[in-house]
């Protein structure tokens, strides 16, 4: 194979997939659609429902505490504080997840983009949400861990945080470490690796333009 024309000729002579062997039947198509729909729902559920369930748990538990300890201003302040700092995240999560996952689902209504525009769009969506999430993780995770520690010590440890300061610090740091480890792996899988991939493609396009 001495020239590129040889390569092209070789390709056209030897790489014709026999369509008759691989033609899809109606049954094949239905099976593939059913399988992929299930997988798509699972992917969305993995991220959205895991995050959403955690938030629902936080809201319900805090509401439960508010009602149970009605009149206890310290508990009311902590529970309301946690609800208030999670509300914007729940709103943003719903809004962005819809934007990230639904273009594929609602593709019927929008034309298919070329490769460059598609990568650009995917990168931008992920980038904007990840930027918000990073900011949220850095600020809200420590506050949430502090509030949860304060609630636990206030309700279940005699003397509260004031008389068990070392134990409270250890609990706070343990909770924060667990939150940080979970956040790191989640961000790596859902954002850092895909963003790196899309960025490399966009840089390749930009460099060769």
């Amino acid at each position: 194979m001495k020239t590129t024309n040889d390569v092209k000729q070789f390709w056209s002579e030897n790489n014709n997939v026999d369509d008759s062997h691989s033609a899809l039947s109606d049954v094949d198509l239905k099976l593939i659609i059913k399988t992929k729909m299930k997988k798509e729902k699972k992917t969305i559920a993995e991220y959205f429902w895991a995050a959403f369930t955690y938030q629902v748990f936080i809201y319900s538990y805090m509401c439960h505490l508010l009602i149970k300890y009605w009149g206890n201003t310290e508990i009311a302040f902590l529970a309301l504080g946690l609800i208030l700092i999670y509300l914007p995240y729940t709103f943003m999560l719903y809004k962005k997840i819809k934007a990230i996952f639904l273009p594929a689902t609602n593709a019927k209504n929008s034309p298919i983009k070329d490769v460059q525009s598609n990568i650009n769009g995917k990168y931008h969506l992920l980038f904007v949400f990840f930027r918000f999430k990073k900011w949220f993780d850095r600020i809200v995770n420590p506050i949430a861990c502090f509030i949860l520690t304060a609630i636990v010590f206030q309700l279940y440890v005699s003397g509260g945080m004031e008389e068990n300061i070392i134990a409270a610090i250890i609990t706070f740091l343990t909770a924060l470490s667990l939150f940080s480890i979970a956040t790191y792996y989640e961000n790596k899988k859902r954002f850092i690796i895909p963003l790196r991939h899309f960025k490399a493609i966009l840089e390749d396009i930009k460099e060769n333009n």
Binding site: V7, W11, N14, K36, A104, T105, I112, Q116, I193
Partner: protein
Amino acid sequence: MKNILEMEFLNAVNQNIAIIHKVCNIYFKNPADRQDVFQEILYQLWKSYKSFTGASKFSTWMYRVAFNTAIGHVKSINKEAPKEEINEYHLQTVENNDTQERNENITLLYKAVHTLSDIDKAITLLYLEDKSYEEMAAITGLTKTNISVRLVRIRKQLKEKMNVLIN
């Protein structure tokens, strides 16, 4: 109504099904990945079929969906699945041209193409499939000039890699 749409879709896809196989072969070394992405491309085609207005050729639209899906999948799958050498799967496409030399050459060609970047792989496939610069530009979103410059470099790279692999 849905059945008519399904039949219409199935006929159009079956006439161009080689596009999906070729895109999968170009981007994925592992047979399991190829199978998974093949199904994913079909699913994406089905979901977006109603958006196909006929403004472009069906094959152009199909290439767009196939490349978008394959390129979007690359990293996550490469991360999770072990890479395998190109072997019998690629050779299935040439089972009727049964000389060993041809089998070896097509394997080498895929090996050389797999070393290219994702965008270059797309351009290479479109070039090998004899698509016009206009069509390549409509599919990739790059300008015709950019494609032409890239093709000069890709052709040189492929030629060098093929010769290294052959020797």
